[in-house]
């Protein structure tokens, strides 16, 4: 069993994380599932075992609780060993008008999506043997490519994570650490279920399939579905006098 690939999932109850772990589930996969809700983690672990995973362990933790991150990482290392692959899949969308007026909500969003994700990443990379291979996959968002009027706090949290990981990609360039930034468009998950307009909506399984392929090919940035790459290329480069007129 020790020969099996060890996948660490932060935010294992997210729909995309579940779909990805399911796709990976086979006799040569061990996974460690981290999240807040013990019951749901247990169900997901049972599901992965039924689908063929060699092992599925759970760790109950509030990922956004910053002060506990290092001790969690130490505990995970000593209990389950060094991960070969890390998926950072947790995040909040925030309730829209509120994130603009309620500072505690805005802070919670930034803390969860950006600060805690960055700290988890740093803690997991610290004290790692430089030659040990690692795939680090983090879910950013197309929303991080340019700030919109709709939800600037969310956009900033994902954009910040994107920039942070781009920096790390340079830091670890040429080493055994591979970092993939995933930028999904709207995905058909419980997180987006209450949103009304959802262009190019895709299933979590489609996103998971795209991630699998991108990990295999050691890609740096993945837009999923692919159509978002040209769309965001244009949106990033639109001059302000055009961008200001767009209803986004």
């Amino acid at each position: 069993m020790s020969g099996a690939r060890h996948l660490l999932v932060l935010g294992a109850t997210s729909a995309i994380a579940q779909a990805y772990a399911r796709r990976c589930a086979s006799a040569d996969l061990r996974c460690t599932l981290v999240g807040r809700h013990e019951d749901r983690l247990r169900e997901i672990a049972a599901d992965l075992l039924a689908r063929g995973a060699a092992a599925a362990e759970i760790v109950t933790a509030d990922l956004a609780a910053m002060e506990a991150i290092e001790s969690h990482v130490d505990a995970i290392r000593s209990r389950f060993g060094e991960p070969d692959e890390i998926l950072i899949a947790y995040g909040l969308l925030g309730q829209m008008p509120k994130t603009m007026t309620d500072l505690s909500q805005a802070r919670r969003l930034l803390d969860t999506n950006l600060t805690s994700a960055a700290l988890w990443t740093l803690a997991l990379l610290k004290n790692r043997r430089a030659d040990a291979p690692l795939s680090l996959v983090a879910l950013a968002s197309v929303a991080g490519d340019r700030g919109r009027a709709k939800n600037p706090v969310y956009d900033a949290s994902k954009g910040g994570l994107d920039v942070f990981l781009q920096g790390l990609q340079k830091t670890y360039d040429g080493t055994a650490v591979h970092i993939l930034i995933v930028k999904p468009g709207p995905v058909d998950t419980p997180m987006t279920a209450s949103l009304e307009k959802k262009p190019f909506l895709v299933s979590p399984d489609r996103v998971a399939a795209d991630i699998c392929r991108a990990v295999l090919r050691r890609r740096r940035i993945l837009y999923t579905p692919w159509i978002w790459r040209p769309i965001m290329l244009i949106i990033r480069h639109l001059p302000w006098f055009v961008f200001r007129r767009l209803q986004i």
Partner: protein, 401 residues
């Protein structure tokens, strides 16, 4: 406001709709709670699709005990409609393989149902059209298989008598269904191809692929006119390379239409109706002759006509559709009032022969046709969760709320 669980929406009519209430989406309820790959007993949440189940179970040499004509159904939907498959003669409907059900009632109770526990509610939930509450999970006994492939045999027959002769001789072939040339008249009435199969004992265990073809948008309605249908039927029947024995993967054999995404768009914006009936064996040859004769004479035509024999294995379900005899399925493009009238005439023939229509495929059945075909419907009504209702149930029972 009454609620209704919505699985994958593969029913053709209004049994999965609830215009005057709420729908509960179950597509994220798709975990496997427990699986014993030694015995083939699996407990899965109701939203798991058969498509997913096949991907998981086939490599481990287990197969869903019963598969309807599409794999894009949820397990919960399959049980709520007590679906049957090409193997009905040997396996019965899916209800015969359900060991237990987890059901949430609107009063907050979560009940575990089985043949020995809460039997009447168990029987009402199998084939209960989602009206007894929210199906949370289903425990199923899967069937062992040696490979992902089928041995098949395709035999042509010249008329309806020919079908019944061949179908009577299906021993050793667990799966069978016949395609009927829905436009052949007179002495050719009921000609077609009988297709039968059985799980191959050797071969690979590879699962199916995602659909590669899809109908991109609603097609103009004139595309499916009489001439096009005639051409299709002629070509389909006379492709002799398909006759005789062969070997094929389960996917094209069991789910021929799944290979074409959104095939329903072929019928254009107005869509289509399906008529599917079950008729007791004694009356079947005569009644099916009448049904086909009536269809052939009409401009609506029938693009797909499928005929098969139902076996005698019963399901615990109170509102189970199959009965020992024959079942005929016909598709009609929606041409308005004429189509509804034709469907009503077909239903009269079925009723007269002591048969019934299939709620999962129905959109026009009258209360009279429903209540005569399902005399036990009040037993389901007695077990219905008061907070659950569907458009179908309102229509065929007159229950308000």
């Amino acid at each position: 406001m009454p609620a209704l669980a919505y699985g994958r929406g593969r029913s053709y009519g209004d049994s999965c709709l609830n215009a005057r209430g709420r729908l509960i989406e179950t597509r994220f309820l798709d975990r496997i709670l427990a699986a014993d790959w030694g015995t083939g007993v699996i407990r899965a949440e109701a939203g798991l699709s058969l498509d997913e189940l096949l991907r998981i179970s086939v490599p481990r040499r287990w197969f869903p005990p019963v598969c309807p004509g599409t794999k894009f159904v949820s397990i919960g939907g399959a049980v709520a409609n007590d679906v049957h498959g090409k193997n009905h003669e040997s396996a019965g409907s899916i209800g015969a393989h359900v060991r237990a059900i987890g059901l949430a009632r609107s009063n907050g109770e979560v009940r575990e149902l089985s043949a020995s526990q809460d039997n009447e509610l168990f029987a009402a939930t199998i084939g209960g059209l989602g009206l007894t509450g929210l199906l949370l999970w289903v425990e199923l006994q899967l069937a062992p298989v040696g490979s992902a492939h089928f041995e098949t045999e395709t035999l042509p027959f010249a008329d309806l008598d020919g079908f019944f002769r061949i179908a009577a001789d299906d021993a050793g072939w667990d799966y069978s269904a016949a395609w009927i040339d829905g436009l052949a008249k007179g002495r050719h009435l009921g000609r077609g191809l009988h297709m039968r199969g059985r799980h191959a004992t050797n071969g690979g265990l590879e699962t199916h692929r995602d659909p590669s073809l899809a109908v991109p948008c609603d097609m103009p309605a004139w595309l499916l006119n009489g001439r096009a249908l005639r051409a299709f039927n002629a070509v389909y029947r006379s492709r002799p390379w398909a006759w005789g024995r062969g070997r094929t993967h389960y996917d094209p054999f069991l789910f021929p239409l799944d290979g074409i995404g959104h095939w329903n768009r072929l019928y254009g914006k107005r869509g289509f109706f399906q008529h599917q009936c079950a008729i007791p064996m004694a009356a079947a040859p005569d009644a099916i002759r009448k049904l086909l004769a009536l269809t052939v004479g009409r401009s609506e035509g029938s693009f797909l006509a499928v005929l098969k024999i139902f076996g005698s294995r019963t399901s615990p379900g109170i509102l189970s559709f199959p009965m020992p005899g024959a079942t005929l399925a016909l598709d009609f493009p929606n041409l308005g009032a004429g189509t509804s009238a034709l469907l009503n005439e077909l239903a009269d023939i079925v009723l007269e022969a002591g048969g019934r229509l299939y709620p999962a495929k129905d959109a026009t059945m009258s209360p009279r046709h429903f209540q005569a075909g399902y005399p036990n419907w009040r037993r389901l009504e007695a077990q219905r969760d008061p907070a659950f209702l569907s458009d179908f149930w309102r229509r065929v029972t007159g229950v308000a709320a």
